[in-house]
């Protein structure tokens, strides 16, 4: 049986009208407030209300019967909700809606109103039936939750605005510092280059040039880091290849051939400067000393990885000069002191012609 035909359910009981009618008794006695209105009369007045309705609203039956339901509305009752109820009545449709209503004493309650037309045999609307349930607690709880949510939202908004402002200030500061670092490195390089040119003593000039190359190596490391997508990693193999090609390119010597066979070797950027300085010593040793006095030759850079350790070897076919471990030169000291922080070992081998320097660099742990 469809819900639409449920009126048969009350029909199949054999009952008397009047006092013995169990449905009328149920409506009279239920704790759910109920009214019946008659749309055939002017202004659709209430023709019946039960005790629960009187109890809920505080009005006596005499106050109620004969009046339109709107006497329960007050100043804070939502106009849009009232309009919806009117539209439902006009369209002869049922509706359920939460509405703020007023008791006789002026106090308010939230009314979960259910209103529905009662049709006769002909299908015409005979009555409207309405039930009212006090849901003030539920509505108040919802309002409290909504108010708390709004308070939290506004607090979140305020904190977010504060954080965005702080981030903006920090970003500005970072750009300023970044700009200063770059400019200072550029200026230091320029000052050293200007000084080198002004020195007549060949020995001193060579020493200062060596120092200038070290500063240049640091500048190159910094430039590569700030231009990289990921500032936490530094590819030492690509750096070595670029440094070698710059040094050879700048020397204007066309008799040095550079051969590179490299895989990326990434280290954490905190080790970038130290490894950059080490590679600068090794490469300038190969190019400036191994292939000294315009000696033709080649420099090979080979980078391989085996999962735990990366190997970067730099080989020249020059005069086979090995940086003397016992020498007191700063270059050797730099390599010796700077390599342990990244766990790198540096081995020097004399070849039949030339020198091979092998750096073994621990692979960067992928998670950190």
């Amino acid at each position: 049986m469809s819900q639409k035909d449920d009126w048969h359910l009350t029909e199949i009981l054999d009952y008397e009208h009047g006092r013995g009618d169990p449905f009328a008794a149920a409506v009279r006695a239920t704790r759910m407030a109920m009214v019946i209105t008659d749309p055939a009369q002017p202004d659709n007045p209430i023709v019946f209300c039960n005790e629960a309705f009187q109890h809920l609203t505080g009005y006596d039956r005499e106050d109620i019967v004969g009046r339109n339901c709107r006497f329960l509305q007050g100043v804070d009752t939502d106009e849009a909700s009232i309009a919806k109820i009117r539209a439902a009545i006009r369209a002869e449709e049922s509706i359920h809606i939460d509405l703020l209503n007023y008791r006789k004493d002026g106090s308010t309650f939230w009314n979960a109103l259910f209103l529905s037309p009662v049709r006769g045999e002909s299908g015409d609307v005979q009555f409207f039936f309405a039930s009212q349930l006090d849901v003030t607690d539920r509505v108040m709880a919802q309002e409290t939750i909504a108010a708390q949510k709004a308070a939290v939202d506004s607090e979140v908004k305020r904190r977010t605005a504060d954080l965005e402002k702080a981030l903006e200030a920090k970003t500005l500061l970072l750009h300023e510092v970044d700009h200063r670092v770059k400019n200072n490195l550029t200026m230091i390089g320029a000052l050293l280059r200007l000084q080198v040119r002004a020195i007549d003593d060949a020995d001193i000039r060579v020493k200062l040039e060596t120092m200038m190359e070290r500063i240049d190596a640091l500048a190159t490391v910094h430039r590569r880091l700030y231009q990289a997508d990921d500032v936490t990693r530094f590819d030492v193999a690509a750096f070595a290849a670029n440094l070698a090609s710059d040094v050879i390119g700048a020397s204007g010597r066309s008799n040095i051939r550079l051969k590179c066979d490299i895989e990326p070797i990434e280290v954490r950027s905190e080790h970038a400067s130290a490894l950059g300085l080490i590679l600068n010593e090794v490469l300038t040793n190969a190019i400036k000393h191994g292939l000294r006095e315009n000696r033709a030759g080649s420099v090979s850079i080979i980078a391989t990885r085996d999962g735990e350790e990366a190997t970067l070897s730099i080989e020249d076919d020059g005069v086979g000069l090995i940086m003397d471990p016992a020498s007191s030169g700063l270059g050797h000291a730099l390599i010796k002191r700077l390599s342990p922080q990244s766990g790198t070992t540096v081995a020097w081998d004399r070849l039949p012609t030339g020198t091979r320097v092998t750096l073994r660099i621990p692979e960067m742990e992928q998670t950190s």
Partner: protein, 159 residues
């Protein structure tokens, strides 16, 4: 310095840089590489005030210039005045250069090393004298997309 490869041509170089020490340094490196400096300017106004002759072959232009002027405007002015000049930005903020370089040809990022700067200069010298350059493109120089297409032909060799 050792004699340079056959394609060498002494370039007329314009330097637009507002930091006097760096301008001096760049001038000396340009001359060291066998080229000559035709003019130096610290702002757009100084470039405007320059004689139109001789025309520079290469302009090295800083992005942030004196008197509130910038390298992009200088680049436009150079393109109007000396259409054949190759324009290279020299800047610590390469990310501020538009993707298409606004008609300029490339960038050398600061801080540069002496060897990086000189190899970029060699590469540019070869490219201007007899394009495309014989050397491969050094990492210190980044060519504008339009230039890269024309010049990168030979640079894929044995890096």
């Amino acid at each position: 310095m050792t004699p340079s490869p056959p394609a060498f041509k002494a370039l007329q170089v314009l330097i637009v840089e507002d930091e006097p020490l760096l301008a001096m340094d760049v001038e000396m490196m340009v001359e060291e590489a066998g080229h000559s400096v035709v003019g130096e300017a610290a702002s757009l106004y100084e470039v405007e005030a320059m004689e139109t002759e001789p025309a520079p072959d290469l302009a090295l232009v800083d992005m942030q210039l004196a008197r509130g002027t910038n390298g992009l405007d200088v680049s436009k002015l150079i393109q109007d005045r000396w259409p054949s000049a190759v324009i290279v930005f020299v800047t610590a903020n390469p990310k501020k250069i538009p993707d298409d370089f606004s008609g300029a040809h490339g960038v050398i990022a600061k801080p540069f090393s002496r060897s990086g700067f000189l190899s970029a200069l060699n590469y540019l010298g070869e490219g201007i004298a007899d394009p495309p350059p014989a050397s491969s493109q050094p990492s210190s120089f980044v060519a504008a997309p339009a230039v890269r297409e024309i010049w990168s032909v030979r640079s894929q060799m044995d890096r």
